[in-house]
């Protein structure tokens, strides 16, 4: 996954009832936007150079621009033909998109108001269901809305946010099923508990996409339309191989960090990392749990430092800032850090500030993949308008690279918490997060 909730465990019930009621009220209002769902648009369609039918009718991009978009999306130099067709088409549309000031404002307001009319003349509607509010999910929503603006067949977008409460999440999911949007994007952080609703939504004729993470026990293509995510084990196997091959510290001790104790992400990523480390004679000297909170990260960073272990590499799916700061505050050089996308403009500033000093360190980052919601939009519209087939699983490659290699597309000047490499322009990010 690339979407590690900042509060992955369901929050205390304090927020359940008020937010749940608010969600119902919001949905009632949102139903105005979501009328006449599920019908096809009558707009004309085109074909891409690969022959794939697409509903997108705007300008195209050059092959070099597409290659640049692919690198920005995956941090890997791969050819378009080796990637899922939906991803390539998504990047082609996103790369060609130049949002006007008015469109940027629309994107920002759409996210802040949890929905909007996109101005399209078609009848398609998009529903987005998030597990809770955080900077990453806000960015994902904005990217999804921006992609929807590229299609005049889409009429409106509605966003619901479960505030990290399972009950609210399931209620919101049911509400969406009742409203029947044409395309439903579900970022499911609640494992198999949402599976019956995925099945209901699919049975109701809604193109339902599981993004960022799969649904345990589900059969993609049958229980839901398609899964849009990456292979966690593959990502971390690659990161661990990079660590054992590139470390210069001489130490063969690694640290593994994750959010919640016993979380689903680490249960998938850690065995893959450990397998590679063990094969190269490395050991895991420290494991820490942060709950994905700043305080948890500060505590874990200090505990790692206090343990006195000579850590050569740290693997953590979220941002490294607080852990690195713990080392720097103590006058120590941070170990090499491998992060799966929680790297922000602030991280980049921190890394740059220490370059050339005695405490310079390395950060290896993977793409945050804020484009996953975009993939679902594109795949859904193309399917409805042109009958373009959708793969049951759109699993994308994802690699870790040194942070300096992201400089070519880092949006310097964007708010500090903004993840590096969103597709949205800096001005829109500033409006969204500033």
């Amino acid at each position: 996954m690339n979407l590690f909730p900042r509060h992955p465990s369901p929050r205390p019930t304090r927020l359940r009832r008020p937010i749940g009621l608010a969600a119902v009220a919001t949905i009632a209002a949102g139903s105005m936007l979501l009328a006449a769902c599920g019908s096809s648009s009558s707009s004309s369609s085109t074909s891409t150079t690969s022959g794939r039918k697409t509903a997108y009718t705007g300008p195209g991009i050059s092959s070099s621009a597409l290659a640049s978009m692919i690198f920005k999306a995956t941090y890997d130099h791969v050819t378009p033909s080796s990637l899922p067709a939906n991803l390539v088409e998504t990047l082609r549309v996103a790369g060609a998109q130049h949002l006007t000031a008015a469109q940027q404002k629309l994107v920002v307001n759409c996210v802040k108001n949890m929905g909007c009319s996109t101005g399209g003349n078609g009848s398609l509607t998009v529903g987005i269901l998030d597990p809770g509010p955080n900077v990453y999910l806000t960015l994902f929503d904005a990217e999804g809305v921006a992609q929807a603006l590229a299609y005049r067949q889409i009429k409106s977008v509605k966003i619901l946010d479960a505030n990290y409460d399972l009950g609210t999440f399931l209620t919101d999911f049911r509400a969406f099923i009742a409203l029947k949007p044409s395309i439903l994007i579900v970022n499911n952080s609640y494992g198999a508990s949402a599976l019956p609703l995925f099945k209901q939504a699919t049975a109701a004729g809604i193109l339902t996409f599981a993004v960022a993470q799969g649904v345990p026990g589900a059969k993609p293509g049958t229980d839901f339309t398609s899964g849009v995510y990456n292979n966690i084990c593959s990502l971390w196997t690659g990161a661990a191989e990079k660590a054992v091959n590139s470390t210069t510290s001489g130490s063969k001790v690694a640290a593994l960090l994750t959010g919640p104790q016993g979380g689903t992400y680490s249960s998938e990523s850690w065995p893959c990392i450990k397998r590679v480390l063990a094969a190269h004679g490395w050991t895991v000297g420290f494991t820490g749990y942060t709950s994905y909170t700043p305080q948890g990260e500060v505590s874990a960073g200090n505990a790692m430092l206090a343990s006195g272990k000579n850590i050569a590499a740290v693997f953590y799916e979220s941002g490294p800032d607080n852990i690195i700061k713990a080392y720097l505050s103590a006058g120590r050089t941070p170990p090499d850090f491998y992060s799966a996308g929680g790297v922000s403009q602030g991280t980049y500033a921190l890394w740059k500030q220490e370059q050339g000093t005695a405490h310079q360190f390395n950060i290896y980052v993977a793409s945050l993949q804020p484009w996953e919601y975009r993939v679902a939009v594109t795949a859904g519209v193309d399917k409805i308008v042109d009958g373009t087939p959708i793969q049951a699983d759109d699993i994308f490659p994802r690699a870790t690279i040194p942070i300096q290699q992201t400089l070519s597309f880092a949006q310097i000047g964007a708010p500090a918490s903004t993840a590096i490499m969103p597709f949205l322009p800096t001005a829109a990010l500033t409006k969204l997060f500033g």
Partner: protein, 366 residues
């Protein structure tokens, strides 16, 4: 002297009798002083100190790294934050109330600091003042709803937590400001240390001593405790019970605000999860310190110990790098054991009858 103290238990009467019978010239063993300490510091208050000593010993033997300079800096900093927040909870629980909005109010204070200052030092102090006023107002609203409108405290404070969390998201979003940072001066201040000890815990201790002095050394402070001991009796004595209760919630809101501002500075770039760990841990700390959950007297000294115990326990488990299952299980077992001992009055209830008699006979006042 509080009402609870004015009608002492048979055990306490024995102690008082001994105190009055003690030699006035101070010759020999001064049992009066001993008895006074025992009276003011009953077994329930002592348990956490015993637990703390055991934990420190465990650290020395099993995880010395948990007590090194690096660890102590973070442990004392987080202990300081917890003490400030727990002092607020203590005031509320002393009057017989409960407050689960501590975490939300802390987050609110930190968000106001980040959003309104946008990391600029020049705005720090005025904004800190505003943040504290807002937190006091939130606490006041809790107090009015609980004491005046007589709505259940748990429901009121739970709802307040929800309202504040929602308001924060509506007002500040998920990023708060373009810098996302608290002012540099606040960051610098909260990272200062005196040797291995964080300045935060020193500030917290000062606040704690002031709270203790106010609770035990002033008429109004003792009145607050009296209200918690027996509200009906306090009302019969024409004490302004409602005012005391409203006051305790309001001051608690202010203390949560201070804790939130300090923690925001320490974390540099806080997020909406800042206060989450404090929603329940403040209640655990108060319970661990031997304070009755139904209100009454308390020991700020034991609050210090309880907060240090809870933070050090986390550091011990983190440094040992135990697996997730072991960490969760250990935390649960240790806390249940400690709170059970507190509830059982220092463990005397668990002693076999012959042992309890032996302990009783060994007392100087028997």
């Amino acid at each position: 002297m509080t009402p609870r103290q004015s009608s002492p238990s048979p055990d306490h009467r024995r102690i008082l009798a001994t105190a009055s019978a003690a030699p006035a010239d101070g010759g020999g063993v001064s049992w009066s002083r001993f008895a006074g300490v025992r009276f003011r510091f009953p077994p329930a208050y002592r348990v956490v100190w015993i637990a703390l000593v055991l934990l420190v010993l465990a650290c020395v033997v099993l995880a010395p790294a948990a007590l090194n300079t690096i660890s102590l800096r973070i442990v004392t900093a987080l202990t300081g934050v917890l003490i400030v927040a727990t002092l607020g909870e203590l005031l509320v629980m002393t009057t017989g109330g409960i407050d689960v909005s501590a975490g939300a109010i802390m987050t609110l204070a930190a968000v106001i600091m980040v959003k309104t200052t946008n990391g600029l030092d020049s705005r720090m102090w005025p904004v800190a003042g505003v943040a504290l006023l807002v937190c006091l107002a939130a606490g006041l609203a809790n107090g009015v709803a609980v004491a005046v409108l007589r709505i259940n405290a748990l429901i009121v404070t739970l709802s307040m937590a929800g309202i504040l969390s929602g308001a924060v998201l509506v007002w500040a979003g998920t990023n708060f400001s373009s810098s996302g940072q608290t002012p540099a001066t606040l960051q610098s201040l909260t990272h200062k240390t005196v040797g291995p000890v964080s300045l935060i815990v020193i500030i917290a201790l000062v606040l704690g001593v002031a709270t203790s002095a106010a609770l035990h050394g002033t008429r109004r402070g003792r009145g607050l405790v009296a209200v918690g001991c027996n509200p009906a009796a306090a009302r019969a004595l024409a004490m302004p019970v409602i005012s005391y209760q409203v006051f305790s919630y309001a001051v608690a809101g202010g203390l949560y605000g201070i804790a939130g501002i300090i923690l925001g500075g320490f974390l540099r770039q806080p997020d909406v999860s800042l206060g989450d760990p404090y929603q329940l841990v403040t209640i655990v700390a108060v319970a661990l310190a031997g304070v009755s959950l139904t209100g009454g007297p308390s020991s700020v000294l034991s609050i210090f110990a309880a907060c240090f115990f809870l933070t050090l326990l986390n550091e011990f488990l983190a440094v040992k790098s135990y697996s997730a299952g072991v960490q969760v299980m250990t935390q649960g077992l240790v806390l249940i054991a400690a709170v059970a001992l507190v509830t059982a009055g220092g463990g005397r209830r668990f002693l076999p009858a012959w042992s309890a008699r032996a302990v009783s006979k060994s007392r100087p006042d028997d």
